[in-house]
Amino acid sequence: MFASIATIMVASMALVGCSSGSTTAEGEPDTSLTVGLLATPGNLDYTTTAGAAIPQALLYNVYEGLVKLDNDGTIIPLLAESWTVSDDGLVYDFLLHDGVTFSDGSPFTAESVKFSLERVKDNWTANGPAYLDPIASIEVVSDTEARIILSKPSNSWLFNMSGPVGTMFTESALADLATAPVGTGPYTVSSFKTGDSLVLAANADYWGEVPYMTDVTLRYFTDATAQTNALLSGDINLISGISQFQLVDQFKSNTDFQVLEGASTGEVTLSMNNASDAFSDVRVRQAVMYAIDRQAVMDTANSGYGLLIGSMVPPTDPWYDESLADLYPYDPDQATELLAEAGVSDLTVAFKIPNLPYAVAGAQVVKDQLAKVGITADVTVLEFPAVWLDDVFSSHDYDMSLIMHSEPRDVNAFAAPTYYAGYDSPAVMAKFAEADAADATTYVELMKEATTTMAEEAAADWLYLQPAISLADADLLGVPKNTPSLALDLSTIAR
C-alpha cells in the first residue's frame, strides 16, 4: 500500500560509534546494533494504527504469529511447530511449540491463539482485519493444539496470517499496546521516543534461538541524506531499504560498507482513474502505456535502480510473469494511433502526485512523455499522506497519480471496484475469488491469468518495482536482503 511510501525504511549499518568492527575494546563480541530508518511509528499499536512503520519494527522481533515469511517470501513455521490441512482445505490443525511464554511471563497456549484471532474482528481497525474473514471458528484441542476451521478454502489466508493480523497477544498485556507491547518474540521494547528512536533488548527467556544482537536501536530520520551521513560517520550500522538511490553509489566504492540489492514488494504505479471521463476507455489507458518510457522514468526517479515489471506482481510471488514487462513497449506512434481510434484529442488530465521525491521526479518525465502524444498533464503536488489520501484515495478526485504500493500481495485489493483506481472487472474479481479457493497449483495459474488480464486492460501503468537496497557496515552478516513482508527481521543479523 502507499502508506508505506512514507515508511520505506532505511536501515543502515555502519560502524557504530567507532571503527572497532567486530569486537569491543575488551575483546567481547560487539552485540549492539543501530539501524537507521525513515518514517517513525506514531505509537506502537498496529491493531489500530496503519502504516508500515510499526510492523517494520515489531513484527517477528517483538511480536510473533503461528507462521512467518522467510526472506524469500516462503511461509515457514514460527509459533506453530507444524500444521496439517484437511483435504477440503477447511480445517487447519496447528501443533504449537511447548513452553513458550510472553515477555510478561504469561504462557502462550492454544487459548492465546483463540483469544488473539477472535479479537481481530471487533478490536482491530487497521492493518486489514478482513484478512481473517475466512475463519469460521477456532477450537482449543489441547494446550499445544489449535484447530482453525475456515468457512471456505482460502489460499491467501495462511499468507496473511504471517502478517500483523496473525500476531499472538496475551490478555494480560492489552492495556497499553500503544507504548508497551508484549509478545513472544526474541526482543522486548526497552524504550520508545516517538520521532527519535525505539530501543529493543534481547528477550533472555526467548523460546527459540536467542539472537546475536542483544541491543538494537532503531533510529528514525526524516531525511535520507541525514541517514546516509549517519552511516558514513559511524552513528548507525545499517540502512535497510534506502529511498533515495542517488545516495547509493558512494557506498559501492567504499570498502567499509556493503551494498545489498534485493527485491521489495513496492510497485511504483502510475495510476489512472478508470472511472474518470479521461480514462474510462481502455484504448486511452493503453495509449498511456505506449507513451511512457518506463526505463526513462526509472532512470530519473530512481537513478536507474529497480526492475521493470509491467504488472502488479513482484518476482517473489509465485505468479510473477517476467514477459509482462514487455507487454507495452515504448511506442509513441502506437499511442497516437490508439488515441485517434478512441476519438480523443487535446486530452488534459489532472495529475495529482504526493510530495515524495520519487513521485515528483518521475511525474516530470511522465508529463513530458505524455505531451509528445498530445496529452496535457496538469501536475498538482499534494502533501503526503494527509492531503493525497483525502483527495486521491478517498474522494477519487483525480485522473492520474504516481505512488508506490508497497504492501505484499496487494493486487486483489487494487482490482476492487471501490478502490481508488476505479478498475471494474467482474471477470477479474471472480477469477481472484476462484483462485483463492482452488488447490495450490490452480491457485498460481488463476492468479497469473487475473493479473495478466489487469495488465492487458491497463488497469494502471506499473512503472517499476522499487529495489530493496540495504547499506551496511562491511562486517555485518545475515542482513535481510529482500523485504517480502512488512517486517524488518533482526534475528538473523550478526557480526
Partner: protein, 315 residues
C-alpha cells in the same frame, strides 16, 4: 511601573487568546483527515467515519475549541490522537531539548558577536576592520541549514570526530550530550552571531560619537577606557532588543536545524504532528511557542528598564 507591567500582562493574555483562536481556525481548514491517516488505506469509509467520531472530530468547531482551550487553561493539553499519550509531557520534553539548543546557540552567538562587533567598530577605518566586517557579512549570508550540512560533511562524515545527528539527554551521558549538541548549536548560532555582531558594531559606533564619550575623553580617559566605562552599557540597549527578537527567530530556525540533525525537539515534534494531523498536539505546540515568544519580549522589556535608568522614569 506596576501599571505598565499590569498593562503588558493584559496585552499578553489577550494575545494568547487571539493566537489560540487563529491557530485553531487555521488548523481546522487544513485539508486532511486524521482518522484516515490513522487507519490507512485498507480501512473502509465507514471505518474512517467511526474513527472520526471516536476522535471527537465530528463535533462542531466551537465545541471543540472551547473544550480544548478550557482544558489548556487548567494545564491539560489533552491526549494525542496519534501517540495516545498526554500531550503536555510530550511538549515539555521536546521544548527542553529546543531550549537547550537555542540557549547554547545564543551563548555562542554572544561570545562571537560582542568581541567581534566591538573590534570591527574600534578598527572601523583600518584594513583589518574592513576584512573582519566582510567576514561577518559572509556569516549573515550563509543560511543555517547550509552551515549545518557543511559542518556534518566536514566533522562527522569526513573526520568522524562528532556524530552527524541525533540527541542524548545530559542526564544519560554528559559527554555524548555535548558531542551531539556542538554542531547543531554552531549551525544555529553562526548566522545569529554574525547578525548580532553587526548590531554590536553599529551600536558601539553610534555611542562613540555621543557627547558623554567626548566628555569622558576630555576628562583624560583613553578611547578604550571611555568606551568600556561609559559606552558599552549604553550600546547594550539596542543590542538587547535585537537579541530578544533573535531568540524568537532562533526558535523558528531550530525547526530546520532539528531536521538537518535529526534532533527530537519542538520543531521536529511540530512537523511530525502536522504531517499526521494530530491537531490537539499541533495546537498545543503552537500555543506554547506563542507564549514563549511573548514571554521573551516581555522579559526583554523588563530588562531594558534595568539596564537603562532613563527608560524607568519614562515608564
Amino acid at each position: 511601573m506596576v501599571l505598565v507591567v499590569l498593562r503588558r500582562m493584559g496585552v499578553f493574555a489577550t494575545t494568547v487568546v487571539v493566537a489560540s483562536i487563529v491557530t485553531f481556525l487555521m488548523l481546522s481548514i487544513l485539508p486532511g483527515n486524521a482518522a484516515r491517516i490513522a487507519l490507512g488505506v485498507q480501512a473502509t469509509e465507514a471505518d474512517v467515519a467511526a474513527q472520526a467520531t471516536a476522535m471527537g472530530l465530528d463535533r462542531p468547531a466551537v465545541v471543540r475549541y472551547l473544550d480544548w482551550f478550557g482544558r489548556v487553561l487548567i494545564g491539560d493539553f489533552g491526549t494525542s490522537t496519534v501517540s495516545r499519550q498526554a500531550i503536555g509531557p510530550e511538549i515539555t520534553d521536546a521544548l527542553g531539548i529546543t531550549v537547550i539548543l537555542v540557549l547554547t546557540s545564543v551563548v555562542l552567538a554572544l561570545l562571537f558577536a560582542i568581541p567581534f562587533g566591538i573590534l570591527t567598530a574600534v578598527r572601523q577605518r583600518k584594513p583589518d576592520g574592513a576584512i573582519l566586517s566582510g567576514i561577518s557579512q559572509i556569516g549573515v549570508a550563509v543560511p543555517g541549514f547550509l552551515a549545518g550540512m557543511l559542518l556534518v560533511t566536514v566533522f562527522a562524515v569526513t573526520f568522524r570526530w562528532l556524530p552527524a545527528g541525533g540527541w542524548v539527554d545530559p542526564g544519560e551521558n554528559f559527554k555524548e550530550f555535548l558531542e551531539h549538541l556542538i554542531l547543531p548549536a554552531i549551525a544555529l548560532g553562526s548566522v545569529q552571531g554574525a547578525v548580532l555582531s553587526r548590531y554590536v558594531r553599529s551600536s558601539v559606533l553610534e555611542v562613540m560619537r555621543e557627547d558623554f564619550i567626548r566628555t569622558a575623553r576630555a576628562k583624560g580617559l583613553g578611547a578604550g577606557r571611555a568606551l568600556f566605562r561609559h559606552g558599552l552599557r549604553n550600546a547594550a540597549v539596542p543590542v538587547m532588543t535585537v537579541l530578544g527578537l533573535q531568540i524568537a527567530t532562533l526558535l523558528v530556525g531550530a525547526v530546520v536545524i532539528e531536521r538537518v540533525f535529526s534532533i527530537p525537539g519542538l520543531g521536529s515534534l511540530l512537523l511530525d504532528k502536522v504531517a499526521l494531523r494530530d491537531l490537539p498536539a499541533v495546537q498545543g505546540i503552537v500555543l506554547v511557542l506563542v507564549v514563549f515568544v511573548l514571554a521573551l519580549n516581555f522579559l526583554v522589556d523588563l530588562a531594558f528598564t534595568l539596564i537603562d535608568p532613563r527608560l524607568r522614569s519614562a515608564a
